[in-house]
């Protein structure tokens, strides 16, 4: 896609230049190194949150609450939620792949604010420390949703510490969002018009809008929770005249758009994976970009569908219901366009492509079940049951994690300069797809049977499906550990990757792998749109 040919140069790669001391990494301003710093933190938290999930699934293998006490169980799923949402899913793609690729894809030397970029990593780590401290001191048992008045007046756990952790990580998220938005606005290479941007960049752009405009609301709301515990102000406390529903409104004003913070980047990654695998242009490029922007905006108007039975006005519920149906339209457009992209292609089933196809399938199943929850009359029965649990895991684990790993596999040669075992990677992708469905499909049935979520013990009639789910979870766990092993191995023993092992389009593939410190030796000039694959 670029007018210049491959920028092969003798410049040392970013992994080497600037020295390789610990200090050089901790003070780096290079967006690629910061992406790797983030990747380390995110991987750590992913497995930490995953360990909590393993405990939850083990406990739920039998109906009796025998493995963990009720209190420990509650702390475990809360920890799982907090870590996975704020320390893995929200930052995962934007801070690693986004940080690494956005400047490269638009032909820039770095992010617009490199120091701010590093600072937001430190914020992320500081927030992580708060969260670890919270865990070590005994955890928190409110659920990741912090519903009042339980979190403010009744819980005796470390709610303030947890809230501070999330508050700080929120700032990290805001700063990342601002950085990406400004970078895309001001640092595009010559000829990189808006509608020549790869869809991944568009996805990061839409995500950043949501991050910047939604996160402050969460931060302030959690600050209010902390103050309510500390100083006894009563804005959310009915005993003092406050309204717990006000908390839910504020919380979901962030936390519903946060779902789009998690899935929009995944959509961007999937678009890259599928065009590469199909070796042709994305079908309906403009519809893809507009639908992402539409999701980012409409995503702010649907939060009340979490509150259909919470006691909000029935008229407000009607409005939220129709808007929730409406936001399914752009998601549907995207699924159809991905499938359309396969039409008349030359399909190569590399591991990244398998992840991409897996993402489309699982995202679609998660999205379709979302329709059931958007329908007020059905939501009354299904909300707060395992149906909801399964629905959002399909979107976040089936969707986002699948796409995140697909992206890691796709750009791994670019990031590290090494190739991994393609056969193992394909096997892991298939295993993940199967393990995931075995874990979470039974949960749809459980929810339909009426098993409420956040139950430490349950009625014996639900056991069969729970055992299936726990069995699936063990397969899923293996499929997550596998990439850790073979990707780790490839770091040291993998074959050297050329600049473009997938013969993909995009500016990031025009520089050596791993790229030099400032990405391009010659500033690239762009003359055509993305995904100009030639068979």
């Amino acid at each position: 896609m670029s007018g210049t040919d491959i920028n092969l140069s003798m410049e040392p790669s970013y992994l080497v230049s600037g020295g390789n001391t610990l200090w050089s990494w901790l003070t780096t301003h290079d967006h690629k190194r910061i992406a790797i710093l983030y990747a380390l933190g995110i991987t750590f938290f992913f497995f930490l949150g995953g360990a909590a999930a393993v405990l939850v699934r083990l406990e739920l293998a039998t109906p009796a609450g025998d493995l963990l006490t009720a209190e420990t169980y509650n702390k475990t799923f809360t920890f799982h939620g907090i870590v996975m949402v704020w320390f893995f899913l929200v930052p995962s793609i934007p801070t690693t792949l986004g940080n690494f690729l956005v400047p490269m894809m638009i032909g820039a030397r770095d992010m617009a604010f490199p120091r701010l970029n590093l600072f937001s990593w430190y914020l992320y780590m500081a927030a992580g420390l708060f969260t670890i401290a919270m865990l070590l001191l005994g955890g928190v048992d409110t659920g990741w949703t912090f519903y009042t008045p339980f979190s403010t007046m009744f819980s005796n756990t470390h709610v303030i510490l947890a809230a501070v952790g999330v508050f700080v990580v929120g700032f990290s998220s805001i700063l990342t969002g601002i950085n990406i938005l400004v970078t895309v606005h001001s640092l595009r290479a010559k000829g990189m018009l808006w509608f020549r941007l790869p869809l991944f960049v568009w996805a990061m752009y839409a995500t950043s809008i949501v991050m910047v405009l939604a996160t402050p609301v969460l931060a302030m709301t959690l600050a209010l929770i902390a103050l309510e515990r500390l100083a006894g102000i009563g804005i959310f406390d009915p005993a003092l005249g406050g309204d717990p529903l006000l908390f839910q409104h504020f919380f979901w004003f962030y936390s519903h758009p946060a779902v789009y913070i998690m899935v929009l980047p995944a959509m961007g990654v999937a678009s890259e994976l599928i065009t590469m695998g199909a070796r042709q242009k994305i079908f309906g490029y403009r519809f893809m970009t507009w639908s992402m922007l539409a999701i980012a905006v409409i995503g702010f108007l649907v939060w009340g569908h979490h509150m259909f039975v919470a006691g909000q006005s029935m008229y407000a519920s009607m409005v939220f219901s129709i808007l929730s149906f409406v936001i399914a339209v752009p998601s549907a457009i995207k699924v159809f366009n991905w499938v359309g992209t396969l039409y008349k292609g030359h399909l190569d089933f590399h591991a990244p492509m398998l992840y991409g196809l897996g993402f489309v399938g699982l995202f679609m199943l998660g999205g379709l079940t979302g329709l059931f929850l958007a329908a007020t009359a059905l939501d009354v029965n299904l909300t707060d049951t395992y149906f909801v649990v399964s629905h959002f895991h399909y979107i976040m684990v089936g969707g986002s994690v699948m796409a995140y790993l697909g992206g890691i596999h796709y750009w791994w040669p670019k990031i590290t300069g090494r190739l991994y075992s393609e056969r193992l990677a394909k096997f892991a992708a298939l295993l993940m797809f199967l393990g995931f469905n075995l874990t979470f499909f039974p949960q749809y049935l459980l929810g339909y049977e009426g098993m409420p979520r956040r139950y430490h013990e349950y009625l014996p009639k639900y056991q069969m499906l729970n055992v299936l789910s726990s069995a699936g979870a063990s397969i899923l766990a293996v499929s997550y550990l596998l990439p850790l092993a073979y990707l780790g191995w490839s770091l040291f023993r993998g074959a050297r990757a050329g600049p473009n092992p997938f013969r993909a389009t995009g500016l990031e593939w025009t520089t050596p792998s791993p790229p030099p410190a400032h990405n391009f030796t010659v500033p690239p000039v762009v003359t055509e749109g993305p995904y100009e694959y030639r068979p």
Partner: protein
Amino acid sequence: MSGSSPPSLRSQLGALAGLLLLLAATAGLAYVPMGAFNTVVALLISLAKTLLVMLIFMRLRSESAVVRLVAIAGFAWLAMLFLILMADYLTRVTLPPPY
């Protein structure tokens, strides 16, 4: 604040005079009984003051379209929050206590 020449002294001092006048107006009008319109008037005056500050002190007049869009976005999103939040409160039917 891209590349344009600095604004005139008159515009800055004029804006300040306008702001102080509006301050006097809003303080005075608060004591005139107008029912619900007291709040409406107070908010309209606040809006006028905000526009003065943003357009003249913050020089939004000479900024690029993107910056103006960002400046509006913050308020627009806040409006969404207010609109739907209050839609709930305004249409909520409180169930009378049964005792």
